[in-house]
């Protein structure tokens, strides 16, 4: 990632931010969650998450457990 002068995001991410409308770097957790919702996301219940995650064949990454 090239080093560049920036206030919030470097140049590449600024271009991405313009396309996908990134939240402010200092957004609150609530704002981040609302942003996810605005992208078409929804929160899964614990049961849904457990059931869906059980169906995934997670990549084996050394030193990292599966996200679920």
């Amino acid at each position: 990632m090239p080093k560049s002068a920036m206030t919030f995001w470097p140049i590449e991410e600024t271009a991405l931010a313009a396309e996908v409308s990134l939240p402010r770097p200092d957004a609150t957790m609530e704002e981040l969650e609302q942003w996810i919702i605005s992208l078409g996301g929804r929160e899964l219940s614990p049961e849904e998450a457990r059931d869906l995650n059980a169906k995934v064949r997670w990549a084996d990454i050394p030193g990292e457990p599966a996200p679920a």
Partner: protein, 102 residues
């Protein structure tokens, strides 16, 4: 430490699953995973997470497994969290293609 899980459905065979751990309004851990349905099985083809104490991206390949780790030392976890979701949302097709080709 409460965890929330979100899902963004891109299409019937592509989803972004977001795991976020927060404590008193602070993001203390996360995983953002790009999943595709391939040969009747859901697999993760890309991952950003905060393991190892520094937010990073795990670049994956179907055959090669972990191909590369990209570290985001100059970003806060919150920035990488948002960047991960935006990157997968925008570039999911290319990332999936690269995964299957490697």
């Amino acid at each position: 430490m409460p965890q929330k899980v979100f899902e963004i459905v891109i299409n019937p065979t592509t989803v972004i699953r977001v795991f976020q751990h927060s404590h008193l309004g602070r993001l203390v851990g996360f995983s953002v995973v790009l999943l595709i349905l391939h040969e009747d099985e859901w697999i993760d083809v890309g991952r950003f997470d905060s393991a190892h104490g520094t937010p990073h991206r795990d670049v994956l390949g179907k055959t090669k497994g972990l191909r590369e780790k990209v570290w985001y030392d100059e970003f806060t976890p919150r920035q990488v969290f948002a960047l991960a979701i935006a990157t997968f949302r925008k570039n999911h097709a290319q990332i999936s293609h690269d995964f299957l080709a490697n």
